[in-house]
């Protein structure tokens, strides 16, 4: 698929059913997300929000249903669509500094360091991760979305509780970032308990509803 096709491709998740430890988590779930869309996953703890994000990221296999990108079968780990899963665990090694962890991820993805430090991570850039607070680690994780590349416009962001540990200032920075990403034609799926980006009128998927 060429990059121009990719930029407008729609990611469809059809009839996905998830069992974990022989327990039905959700059944026949459908989700379509195209360029410029934002989708919010709602639901109580254990409703399968994180699992759904991990399925789309390619970490969990699907037992039923299918995922496709413009009609082609979508294999997240092999796809040309850049995918960013930002959720716990973040992939940082506690003994390495924030800067080293971030530059490792940047070089793995062949990206360069960001210019705008929107989440103010420079303050603790040289500290090892184990000395940082939960909110600071969350900010560092979100900074991965700022890493630069010319092919990140259409990227799919999978954010798992991105704002649960952020202070109000950085919540605002996150909302602005998501808004810009959508304007540029990106795709965002967020699992959140706190309200986020409500002014963008997102698709809302309710998980774990008793039927």
């Amino acid at each position: 698929m060429s990059s121009s096709e990719l930029a407008h491709a729609t990611l469809s998740i059809t009839n996905v059913t998830l069992f974990r430890a022989n327990k039905l988590i959700f059944k026949n779930l459908n989700l379509n997300i195209s360029s410029g869309d934002i989708c919010i996953l709602n639901g109580p703890n254990g409703a399968g929000k994180t699992s759904l994000l991990r399925i789309i990221a390619g970490y969990l296999p699907i037992s039923n249903g299918k995922m496709s990108l413009n009609g082609h079968i979508f294999e997240p780990l092999k796809s040309h669509l850049p995918i960013w899963y930002i959720g716990h665990p973040f992939g940082f090694h506690p003994n390495l500094s924030a800067a080293k962890n971030l530059s490792q991820i940047a070089s793995m993805r062949k990206l360069s360091m960001f210019d705008e430090d929107r989440f103010n991570v420079i303050d603790f850039f040289q500290q090892p991760i184990r000395t940082l607070s939960t909110g600071q680690i969350q900010r560092l994780a979100l900074s991965q979305l700022l890493l630069k590349s010319n092919r990140q416009k259409e990227a799919l962001w999978l954010l798992d509780e991105p704002n649960s540990t952020l202070d109000s200032l950085h919540c605002l920075a996150l909302e602005t970032l998501i808004e810009e990403h959508i304007e540029f034609g990106g795709r965002v799926i967020v699992a959140a308990h706190q309200p986020l980006c409500e002014h963008l009128s997102p698709q809302i998927i309710q998980l774990g509803a008793k039927t």
């Binding site: 990221a57 390619g58 970490y59 992939g91 090892p128």
Partner: protein, 224 residues
């Protein structure tokens, strides 16, 4: 691929440096095990040098094997393997870099301390070089086996003991040929055949271990 291999390798090396106490405690363990032998077998140098080679091998093994469960566990728990899976390069590249770094940081300190140990148990230092080669070859193979075991036990309970139980029987051929090299050294018979067999085992393990590790890491991500 070579570039990303080096990046993984450098990352591993930095992590190892930051956890230098792990390496030191492993070397301390090796020295202590070796010190037990003169105490238990008696200080007779003839007797000690007769068993010496086998004792060095066993002590080196016993000090290295418990570390294998840690090989991938940290990165698994911290989510790094998932990040690496999103890379264009296969996970085998990551696993190979990890094993190589682990092999170097466990073997080099052991080699540094080895002359002292040889003197302690009455081994002639003239055979040190050949002994070191056989230990390097042996530990290289065992590290690859350890990588397989570590990948397979990811996420399991009591992973440390399980990994050790997996590694030890598989590494028997390496121990046997390693000790035979040592015996040949003492008896001054040719050691080349044994060394070549160990090289052959190491090479075939490289071919086998990397795909197995790649598969087991992938499987571990799906079960997280």
């Amino acid at each position: 691929m070579i570039l990303i291999f080096f990046q993984y390798f450098i990352r591993e090396f930095e992590i190892s440096i930051s956890q230098v106490t792990d390496i030191l405690s492993q070397i301390g363990f090796f020295i202590l095990v070796m010190m037990l032998f003169p105490l238990s077998l008696g200080p007779d140098p003839n007797k000690l040098s007769e068993y010496g080679i086998a004792l060095v091998w066993i002590a080196a093994f016993v000090s290295v094997v418990p570390a294998y469960d840690r090989l991938f566990t940290d990165d698994y728990l911290h989510g790094f393997i998932e990040k690496a899976a999103h890379n264009d390069q296969p996970l085998g590249c990551y696993a190979a870099a990890k094993c190589l770094c682990f092999f170097l940081v466990t073997t080099i300190p052991l080699l540094i301390i080895l002359p002292v140990i040889c003197t302690m148990i009455g081994l002639n230092l003239s055979i040190f070089f050949e002994l070191a080669i056989s230990i390097v070859l042996g530990l290289f193979g065992v590290t690859l086996l350890g990588g397989i075991a570590s990948g397979l036990v990811l996420g399991a309970r009591r992973a440390a003991i399980l990994a050790a139980v997996l590694v030890l029987p598989l590494s028997l051929p390496i121990i046997i040929f390693g000790c035979m090299t040592g015996i040949a050294l003492i008896e001054t018979t040719p050691i080349k055949p044994y060394i070549f067999i160990m090289i052959a085992m190491d090479l075939s393990l490289i071919v086998l271990a990397i795909p197995i590790m790649q598969l087991s890491l992938k499987n571990a991500i799906e079960n997280n």
